[in-house]
Amino acid sequence: MRARQPAVETSPKVSDEVRQTTCYMCACRCGINVHLKDGKVAYIEGNRDHPVNKGVLCAKGSAGIMQHNAPSRLRAPLKRVGPRGSGEFEEISWDEALDVAVGWLKPIRETDPSKLAFFTGRDQSQSFTSFWAQNFGTPNYAAHGGFCSVNMATAGIYTMGGAFWEFGQPDWDRTKLFMLFGVAEDHDSNPIKMGIGRLKANGGRMIGVNPIRTGYNAVADDWVGITPGTDGLFILSLIHVLMQSGRIDLDYLARYTNAPVLLNCDPKSKMYGMFLRNAEGKPQVIDRATGKPAPFDKRGITPDLSGTLREAGITHKPVFHQMAEHFLSPDHAPEAVADRCGVPADRIRAIAAELARVAFDEAFELDIEWTDFRGETHAKMIGRPVSFHAMRGISAHANGFQTCRALHVLQILLGTVEVPGGFRFKPPYPKPIEAHPTPHCGASPNRPLDGPHLGFVRGPQDLALKPDGSPARIDKAFTWENPLSAHGLMHMVISNAHAGDPYKIDTLFLYMANMAWNSSMNTRGVIDMLTDTDDDGNYVIPHIIYSDAYSSETVAYADLILPDTTYLERHDCISLLDRPICEADAAADAIRWPVVEPDRDVRGFQSVLVDLANRMKLQGFTKDDGTAKYADYADYITRHERKPGIGPLAGWRLPAEGSGVGGSSSEAHAEGRGSPNPDQLKHYIENGGFWSQHIPEQAQYYKPWNTAYQDWAVSLGLFDSPQPYLFQLYLEPLRRFQIAAEGHGQRQPPDHLRDRIRTTMDPLPVWYDTTPPEQEAYPVHALTQRPMAMYHSWGTQNAWLRQLHGRNPLYVPTNLMRQHGLQDGDWARVTSPHGEIIVPVMEMAALNDNTVWSWNAIGKRKGAWALEPDAPEATRGFLLNHLIHELLPPRGDGLRWANSDPITGQAAWFDLKVRIEKAPDQTESQPAFEPLASPVGTGPKTLTWKVGK
């Protein structure tokens, strides 16, 4: 039979309308085209014009339609009616909800604003939420960076004025060798995939350094299955080999880094290890032309990497001499580190040789003239096509800050930062420490905080301590325990608040942070803290307010729920004041706007904050006559000015009178600096939801030192004046803490921290073992990774995505499977010093021999996320969090040490070590928790989601 070919409609109507907004299915923030039929969301695809994703879209983004219609969406404000944790709520009106909230918040503000702890999770509006918290007056604000990647961000900013992801990216079009450390699969996710594709299309190669060979590491040409927590040792050894062989960029180091800056080298001097500075405080170098000292930025000088200076009886040597001594130490030789890293010495040497070969032997030139900050004009830009990327994998260790430092120093030694083919910053970065605020914690009743909460300390003087030396913040950020905690310590808030250490609070206010489940260490313990009562039967943490769009585990533990909208129903701005969507060759920001209206009694959280601010008449939200400045978040986005002319959005502002920008006010536009424009959001919507401005060609590289870039940045309002600076290979702020620990200075650390500060806060990158010696009984490393198709806990409520990653067995390497007599589907008991879990296992060969791992945040509590109680996520899924405590086990010294990086406070999730053994078959993963009552019920039994006719 030969079938008659039927007619096929090959040109059906695609949709009634396309509305362009910004994705929120992860932190990548791609542009999306939302196709609507009959007013309903029919299809979502990437926006081709968008600077981030240029049309492509990942699985999460395309599955946004299933997030938008998820049965887990909260429907109305909720007031708890059962005990905390029961999940019993009643729906209330917004008026009642806001009255309750103000009833708790206003008295706090009038007496002691620090009784409010306001922490936000996957918040993409931190410049706004921090502004709100600052105006409320509490010092207790941060987002989730402290348990995410603060080590990377902070190490990058201190070292070179920015790190990876939203701070910068490889020069994908020109790089020839890309080296990726650790996991990074849901941050900058589409740009990295696009970049890897381009790299490979251009014939470039990729090295992956990760104990687990999945995702990007699976397509890496070379895989280094390193032992977790030893990345720093490996990197220091690469540096050792490069220096020993002289394969470093001396010219770059002399011109653009503090390698030539003179250091006080007299151990008897009080300024030992500090920079030699002139009367204006500028670090001094020796000018090779004159042999005399000069400020580092003096016009026309050639800083000398080798010259020494004796002044006032004190010998000063360049930082580079100290680096040579430090990195050339035999302790860093490949043979000395190979066993600990699990990487053969020959391979370390071969990788170092390959980095050097590509950086120097494949160097190229671009015929672009540029002028540096010392006034020298260069005819060409020199390309060194080696680039790096890393995020949480190397961050989430207690030695993560120094490891991230080492990685940045490695890039700089190769001369591959801000050059063609290397790593490039994205505006508003590069940005030196000097352009960032210091932390502020000055709270008093009825007044805003005395400045921004979060910042970068320069030394002990900037710590957030009360006059009696006790921590000013509930999370103990910016204290001697973790002085450089630039993102706060969200993972310590609940346990500190419960312990009343450093003080008790009244109200815990959380946004989009699943702290009663996968976002906390020690999940069971945190649940107990949230439900614990005092002798009078009152909750130890008296009030908990939570805002989320979805029925997460944490909802059950709050007293008041303020239901958020989905990302397609709301206004947002992805602002240059915050974590913008810029690319290396363009500044860009973006909005979300309600492409559909909510069909539930929910409100965008930021608008709710504006409403609360107005009800409490917070200063920054209130006009002089006492009336409200802003009606809602959209109004704030349009009209707020952080300083004159600078607002949340840089595009389509109005030119100032007499600025020379022509045209009528409705047509003429200023970019970056300008007055608020009531039509601004309309322009964004017409432009596809974003704005971008390209960096001029001569300003594209060498940004920290390039006069053309600096001038462009000033014109756009990123800085008020040019901010050229040197990369800080040697980190003087760390030396200031060491000096304090050595007993000098007014502010002194407690004695029990002196040794730790001296050893960990080395001004040059160091590595230290994070495994306590008493933990020999726990020999196996245990990690989590995020699936590319899931973002934290969100993916599981998504009917399409949970079919991709609905199960998370513990992946066990072949040798350990054999050793423990395990087969796929067996159950294993996994024990850490803190607890045990019993979970299903699966063999994996492409895995470090001494590492087990699972997917992050697949395991769910029964009753949450509108799943059926027998969903595999709730029966066989599990969290490693049960094995991880926010404190390390007692060491017999009477102290409990935080399971965090001692420099930044970054949660050391990946320091986890366990032992595994075969367990009897189970019906469910252990521990199994009692089900929560679901405030939203469960989803339908069948989906046939076709909205068109």
């Binding site: 030969r2 079938a3 039927p6 990942c58 996710s189 589409n190 999945t214 895989w223």
Partner: protein, 246 residues
């Protein structure tokens, strides 16, 4: 039972780069979204929030571990959808003529109004590329987005399958594999593109580009790196000489 055309005017298909596919499933979900809303019955999901969620997908990504004789194990991500075979057994087995291969472009399609949901085609396909939709009771398969590639309501650059348009790594290529001068044909030649399971005799149109050789750094003895510290004056002596040369 149902005849295949002797030849087709074009041989539209996909070239999938296994060296570049990171296994992100973007193509899987983009396909699910487009084809739920477009050609034929929506791709349904059974028990989508329950114990055993199972839906219809026209494209899936599998991951396989590969253990080379020497060296570390590898992981290969392997996207799989209908390969639009020349000798498509799913067509010849169809009792109603619902499955057919188009003469103009070689796309294998199911005419859902003639499909009785007997499942013979899924049984005949050696690749497991067809899925019976349990809600609609008809066979679903990759259409190469026939309602996109010729769609005059889409901008020309968007007239490609949804999976190709969305693939972030650029691992999916679409074109006429019957034209030796097409970009996809050239790519197949350049990269040694392969048929999937050629022994099945289905002559698939889609091709796979194999992964490049892995873990090569350090396998060949390289020239030893110099040791600049092993000379008079050590590292600082070398430094002074090197700075002179700058």
């Amino acid at each position: 039972m149902t005849a295949l055309p002797e030849t087709t005017q074009r041989q539209l298909g996909l070239v999938i780069d296994l060296d570049t596919c990171v296994g992100c499933h973007a193509c899987v979900i983009s396909c699910k979204g487009w084809n739920t809303e477009n050609y034929g019955a929506p791709l349904s999901d059974q028990d989508p929030y329950g114990a055993d969620p199972s839906g219809t997908f026209l494209n899936r990504v599998h991951s396989y571990e590969v253990q080379p004789p020497d060296g570390a194990a590898q992981l290969v991500h392997f996207p799989k959808s209908c390969l639009h075979c020349h000798d498509a057994p799913c067509v010849t087995v169809c009792p109603t003529g619902a499955s057919y291969k188009r003469t103009e472009d070689g796309i294998v399609l199911v005419n859902e109004s003639d499909c009785i949901g007997c499942g013979l085609c899924a049984w005949a396909c050696p690749y497991g590329a067809r899925e019976l939709d349990l809600a609609a009771g008809v066979m679903k398969k990759c259409t190469l987005c026939i309602d996109r590639i010729y769609n005059e309501n889409l901008p020309e650059e968007d007239r490609v399958p949804a999976c190709v348009r969305t693939c972030p790594a650029g691992a999916r290529h679409f074109g006429d594999l019957g034209d030796p001068d097409s970009d996809v044909s050239k790519l197949v030649v350049e990269r040694g593109g392969m048929d999937l399971m050629p022994e099945q005799g289905t002559r698939p149109v889609n091709k796979y580009l194999p992964p490049r050789l892995k873990d090569q750094i350090g396998t060949a003895p390289a020239a030893p790196m110099p040791d600049v510290t092993d000379q008079p004056g050590g590292f600082l002596g070398w430094l002074d000489k090197a700075l002179e040369k700058l």
